[in-house]
């Protein structure tokens, strides 16, 4: 009854939009955002300037005259050692490494996860624990034995060898991802399929696989960015003709010979970062889910 006689707006007093706390809050966020955005901005403007303009200083200034020549040069003319065919070679190498690595690592890890959650056998948990602990071992302790293994099977320096290495080192986190997902699938579903006489592969392909599509997307995002950004394995397990893009980028930018062309370097850097950036901006929430899955390993 009191409500009827009350005049004026009800509910809590709305906060002032420009309260001191809000100005502080947004001010901080905007300043911090600038720190995060600065390198991207500087890379873009530098890559669009000509060399004379860069020598004038002012890295933050927008280009007075926009030129796309550095991009063309980075893609098709930049030199690494004796090869002067630009980053395009590294790009195609990376694509050739990426596609089979992503397919193979996810195929193996999803079957692993499925076997581990639905077809437990004696010792399966032990192997899984070792696999997860393996994710924490520094790569440096396993690098040389893998060199020997790859030499034995004749894949050292080959793109196939690098695909194998990515499959091996992607296995712990991906297996964990799929195992946790399949463990959350109601067991009745699996039992019903068993009663109907479906076997290991039939249940996997007809029931589990279609259900797990979202988790496959997460795994793909995780693997595409991870493998594309790899540098260490690329340096060790390939030779100059098969260098992935990151390794070639480093060789172009940090080569000591010749005049430094900063605009070409920045265009090359942006080209290398483009694939994961596109994935990131296109995938949005799924990317966050992917890295959150990667974060809770162990």
């Amino acid at each position: 009854m009191a409500d009827l006689t009350m005049t004026g707006p009800r509910g809590p007093k709305p906060k002032k939009r420009f309260s001191r706390a809000n100005i502080f809050l947004y001010g901080t966020l905007i300043v911090v955002s600038m720190y995060y955005l600065l390198p991207l901005y500087v890379m873009v403007v530098t890559s669009l300037k000509g060399m004379p303009e860069i020598r004038m200083g002012n890295v933050f200034g927008p280009p007075l005259e926009i030129t796309f020549e550095p991009w063309v040069k980075a893609w098709s003319e930049a030199c690494t050692g004796v090869n002067c065919d630009g980053l395009s070679r590294g790009f195609w190498n990376s694509v050739q490494i990426l596609i089979p690595s992503v397919v193979l690592s996810i195929a193996i890890a999803s079957v692993n996860g499925y076997a581990l959650s639905n077809w437990k056998f004696k010792g399966s948990e032990v192997f899984f624990t070792i696999l997860i602990l393996g994710a924490f071992i520094p790569y440096q302790t396993m690098i040389y034995p893998i060199v020997i293994l790859l030499r034995e099977i004749g894949l050292m320096g080959d793109l196939g060898g690098l695909v194998l290495v990515h499959t091996i080192f992607g296995m712990p986190i991906l297996t964990l991802l799929f195992r946790n997902y399949f463990a959350s699938v109601p067991e009745e579903l699996f039992k019903a399929a068993r009663v109907d006489g479906a076997g290991f592969w039939r249940i996997y392909f007809q029931i589990m696989l279609p259900m797990a599509l979202p988790i496959f997307v997460v795994a793909i995002i995780l693997q595409v960015t991870g493998i594309w950004n790899d540098f260490l394995f690329g340096v060790i397990y390939t030779k100059p003709a098969t260098y992935p893009m990151t390794v070639q980028l480093n060789n172009i930018v940090n080569s000591v010979q010749g005049i430094k062309e900063y605009n070409v370097n920045m265009a090359a850097t942006l080209l290398t970062g483009l694939v994961p950036l596109v994935i990131y901006f296109a995938s949005g929430k799924l990317f966050v889910r992917g890295i959150a899955a990667g974060a809770v390993k162990g």
Partner: protein, 308 residues
């Protein structure tokens, strides 16, 4: 029904017992890649390296025992000592700063602000980029002749000096700026997920008791988020030990050897200096440091669960 099922299962198990190895064979065949990876590469490879760290392998690995010689030489090498102290400095700073920045940003984003997803996207995008890209971008910004320093000098402040990458004393901080730029978004994301998991009623209770916002965070929220902090800690720590690409791209260990790190030491000794034994000894030391970090964590994580 469950009883029938159980007895049926037991009977089947009894009947098949002699053939245990061949029970659900497909699952085992499908797990062969996993078993090989775990046993051959992870266990076998690691043991192989540890064993060979006690030999005098140079260009090729061989089993000629020299005891702890490689380790003695390792701890006598200035380059290794610099690598270790660099990593310690970088590690402590990166741990403290990443956790602080990650938490503060997450707390700011959790204040029911507008454009939250835009800010989150901005803070996280560097994480999608490789360390090589990160290192090269920051190398350019910190370039003394054309970058930040020359810009400020151009504004009229002639004596302004900010050239961390060419000064042996500050080069690790130059790397730190880039490393934090790349990795803090991830920690922010984890912290934000942790903050979102905290019951709204706790905030209400704190407000009723008249506890200020900052005080609530420090006294109530942070202690509640202990598991999240531990996850973040393990994540940052395992990333720090792996620090390699960023150094190669941004400074290549320079000026001189003043920004060398252990991971780089290992690679250089294995593949450039052709001194495999040294590389194995150094990588074994890396493994030992990981184990030292991991054991208390595993104890907290898994030992605690059993008690609680």
């Amino acid at each position: 029904m469950s009883v029938v099922e159980q007895t049926g299962g037991q009977r089947a198990a009894k009947a098949r017992k002699p053939m245990r190895l061949f029970r659900n064979p497909m699952a085992k065949i499908a797990s062969i890649p996993m078993i090989l990876t775990a046993m051959v590469v992870f266990v076998g490879g690691t043991l192989w390296t540890v064993v060979h760290s006690f030999t005098d392998s140079r260009l090729l690995p061989r089993l000629n025992w020299v005891g702890l010689d490689q380790y003695e030489r390792l701890w006598d090498t200035p380059r290794w000592l610099i690598s270790i102290s660099n990593l310690a400095l970088y590690g402590v700073c990166s741990l403290v700063l990443t956790l602080t920045i990650g938490f503060v940003l997450a707390a700011l984003l959790d204040r029911k602000i507008r454009f939250e997803s835009a800010f989150r996207t901005i803070f996280l995008y560097p994480f999608a980029l490789s360390f090589v890209v990160t290192g090269i971008a920051w190398q350019w910004i910190l370039n003394p002749d054309f970058g930040l320093q020359s810009l400020v000098q151009g504004w009229g402040w002639e004596s302004f000096a900010f050239d961390p990458l060419n000064d042996p004393d500050t080069v690790m901080f130059g790397l730190l700026i880039a490393g934090i730029w790349q990795g803090s978004g991830l920690i922010m994301c984890i912290m934000l997920a942790g903050l979102r998991g905290i019951d709204e009623d706790i905030w209400k209770a704190a407000r009723v008791d008249g506890i200020g916002t900052v005080k609530t965070y420090i006294r109530i929220i942070i202690p509640m988020m202990r598991p999240v902090f531990i996850t973040a800690l393990v994540l940052i720590a395992s990333g720090i030990i792996k620090l390699y690409d960023l150094v190669v791209a941004q400074t290549n260990g320079g000026p001189g050897i003043s920004s060398e790190v252990p991971a780089k030491y290992v690679i250089e000794y294995m593949f450039r200096a052709q001194n495999l034994g040294q590389g194995f000894a150094a990588s074994t030391m890396m493994l030992v440091s990981v184990i030292i970090i991991l054991i208390p964590w595993a104890y907290l994580e898994f030992g605690g669960k059993k008690n609680g």
